[in-house]
Symmetry: C2
Subunit: 430 residues, 2 copies
């Protein structure tokens, strides 16, 4: 890791710059696939599966018998772990449900908002080296709590843990489709795959590009994507071996992962570096982690206020506060996806099982975006009901503003009602 | 308005189709302007203001003296109306504040989330025929309640009501900049205009395209845009003159506005048509409203269930329920931006003063997007704190899942801690 000591504030932006992601060169190719799926449906999906994934797909949908078979092959300990994680994630996301609260802003003017499920959602789980069943929990559980009517899952991986987790979460419509064709199938619908209103989930640069393109044509997506990242703020109270383990757990994600250590202590720099070297050797994904660490940074700053200022500007996806007074420091965090406090709160707890969601804004998006939550699966529809008396109370306000904006028909929608109330005075006598 | 009677369900999508908005032909031109503002700063902003708006801008920022001068010219009745609306909007949006709720998902595993303001936001208010000061209330008030540190307002209109409303809302940084150059200035920052993390507000197709492009480069935006629209569901209990007035208040927005009447009553079709013709003649914006009505639809359906099904598929920005049992029907609405219940709740109440937000999802986006609310100005950051005992409770769950996903470093971040706890057993004895 590159070490920078006491960087000048003017250099922070450059120091903390992330690699620029540009998928525009892929756009033409990805768009062609999307359009072919749009018009060709299942046949196009099968064609691209054969071309890119070298698989022949008969039924696109996973038959229900496959779920029981998958469950039978899964180790009991893993099943128990997935169940425990599901329980915690359910507890945390269920607490995000909002009660309807009717607000009377003026006498007779009642306003409220109600969370209503997005009726049709699509989840994408990539294939590749690791079966990301944990992401099914993170997306499927809030979708079920929200009450989404149609939940579609597309994944090229039929790993038993994927099927078991889908079943546990209550997702019935699982399709063996990957890549751009999966995003297209969910965005536009095919003979087999229902069309959805919002698409969630991680993916490679082709999938990311496909999500951007269907978003442009009106399908909502969870959030913009970027490489995963962690920042650790550590002082002399940290345990260097824990900090090193946390940095490595991010670094093993991919060679483009971002890892940043900010500290007020020269000793921490030395001890974490030593612990990193020791732990790195034992990792199966050592090559990936080493590549990620080469682009990563250790930054020594003069005090905790400077550290927090710098970290807020960086806006990390994950922020670990391995230092004394983590509670007070957490109050000063304005820009981060998720914050892990103290020496016994590793990021991997949030990645899997503590209950918080692991789908978080990377790439500085934490400045303006939240991670996935129950909110991501609902719309908050506003309602209002005005009584005749209420309209008499608020009417002149609306009329004056509409007239000043030059919108006479807006004004008239009130005037016509007020006149009728005046005429049929009985309605409002009390 | 075109009348369709008892359309077959298979024809609904075609019947309810909205005009396709395609800004891709503008992209090159808009992108060139954005890039020139990005590199040229204030000088580029001035150049485009001269070229497109035919104005010479000296100071880009409105001087503080201008606000007092604007207030002095404003009629007291209009000021009082704006103040009343501000009060109601504040009441409704303040009720959206969320208390932090710490959830212990397992003993020793505490998780919570906290709403933190997006630190820097930009509001855009277009010029044109009407001074849209109401939109300043709708965006500025939740931004202030959220606690956004930097609130920037760009508008080419220095109408006194605009300046007065900005001042009332507490927005100090107002810039006389319009169009694509305003979006570019806020997205990238110039010598005068601070860079922001999220941009809100309506605009023409150039502004819409500019917002899409800066969004692609990482700046968040409020929501995708489309022409404004209303759907009215009316039965024999409606007052045809009120329904006609509501339809016209939407139709006067622009020739591309969408207006839909759904009813179970042939009599309502006749009576609303007659009332429309009478009211239309009196409108100053008759030409615009007439053009909008030509593309608009009246649909007769056999019963209320069919009506609600059809309206949920349409997903209107505004939905007026001018019928008996509006409360029961409202429970069945799954897809709409904002719902107005009963004969005395005109859409213009929500447009200006009842308290709900008027920045709402158009173009069917209500299927997956919410209108602007306090949520739009905050990120919900998750936090977690795990005690040593907590990690011993949850540790094996994390280890099993990380191992099954092939992410050993994720597992090791837990293992290294559990081992240390085992070794220094005193920490966990009780």
């Amino acid at each position: 890791m590159q070490i920078t000591r006491f960087p000048d504030k003017n250099s922070w932006n450059t120091l903390l710059q992330r690699p620029v992601m540009d998928t525009s060169t892929l756009e033409k190719k990805v768009n062609d696939i999307l359009q072919e799926v749009r018009t060709g449906g299942d046949a196009a999906v099968r064609k691209f599966a054969a071309e890119f994934d070298k698989v022949t797909l008969d039924n696109l949908q996973v038959p229900s018998a496959a779920f029981a078979a998958a469950e039978a092959t899964l180790e009991p300990a893993l099943k128990a772990a997935i169940q425990q994680a599901a329980k915690n994630i359910t507890t945390f996301h269920r607490a995000q449900q909002e009660k309807v609260q009717v607000i009377e802003t003026m006498p007779g003017v009642q306003c409220w908002r109600k969370s209503v499920a997005i009726q049709k959602v699509g989840l994408y789980i990539p294939g590749g080296s690791a079966p990301l069943f944990s992401t099914i929990l993170m997306l499927g559980i809030p979708a079920m709590i929200a009450g989404c009517k149609e939940i579609v899952l597309c994944t090229p991986s039929l790993h038993p843990a994927i099927l078991y987790t889908a079943q546990l979460t209550g997702i019935e419509k699982v399709f063996t489709i990957g890549g751009v064709q999966a995003i297209g199938a969910m965005a536009y619908g095919t003979e087999s795959v229902p069309q959805v209103y919002k698409i969630f989930g991680p993916g490679n640069q082709y999938v990311t590009c496909a999500k951007q393109l269907v978003n442009k044509s009106g399908v909502a997506i969870d959030m913009p994507a970027g490489p995963s990242e962690v920042a650790v703020l550590a002082d002399d109270s940290c345990v260097p071996a824990f900090v090193a383990a946390d940095l490595l757990s991010q670094a093993e994600h991919g060679p483009d992962s971002q890892v940043v250590l900010v500290t007020t202590s020269e000793k921490v720099l030395t001890n974490v570096t030593n612990a990193l070297n020791t732990q790195l050797d034992a990792l199966p994904r050592k090559g990936i982690a080493t590549a990620a660490l080469e682009n990563s940074k250790m930054i020594l700053v003069k005090d905790m206020d400077t550290a927090i200022d710098l970290l807020n500007i960086y806006a990390p996806e994950h922020l670990i506060l391995a230092c004394e007074g983590a509670e007070n420091l957490a109050d000063k965090v304005t820009d981060a996806g998720s914050v892990f406090m103290g020496n016994y709160t590793p990021e991997s707890a949030g990645d899997y099982a503590s209950g918080t969601n692991h789908t978080l804004p990377t790439n500085g998006y934490a400045r303006a975006y939240s991670g996935v939550s129950l909110d991501s699966f609902v719309k908050k529809i506003t309602f209002q009901q005005i009584s005749p008396e209420g309209l008499q109370n608020i009417g002149s306000t609306i009329e004056a503003m509409a007239a000043a904006e030059g919108l006479e028909a807006h004004k008239n929608a009130v005037t016509v009602r007020l006149k009728q109330l005046e005429y049929t005075g009985s309605l409002i006598t009390d």
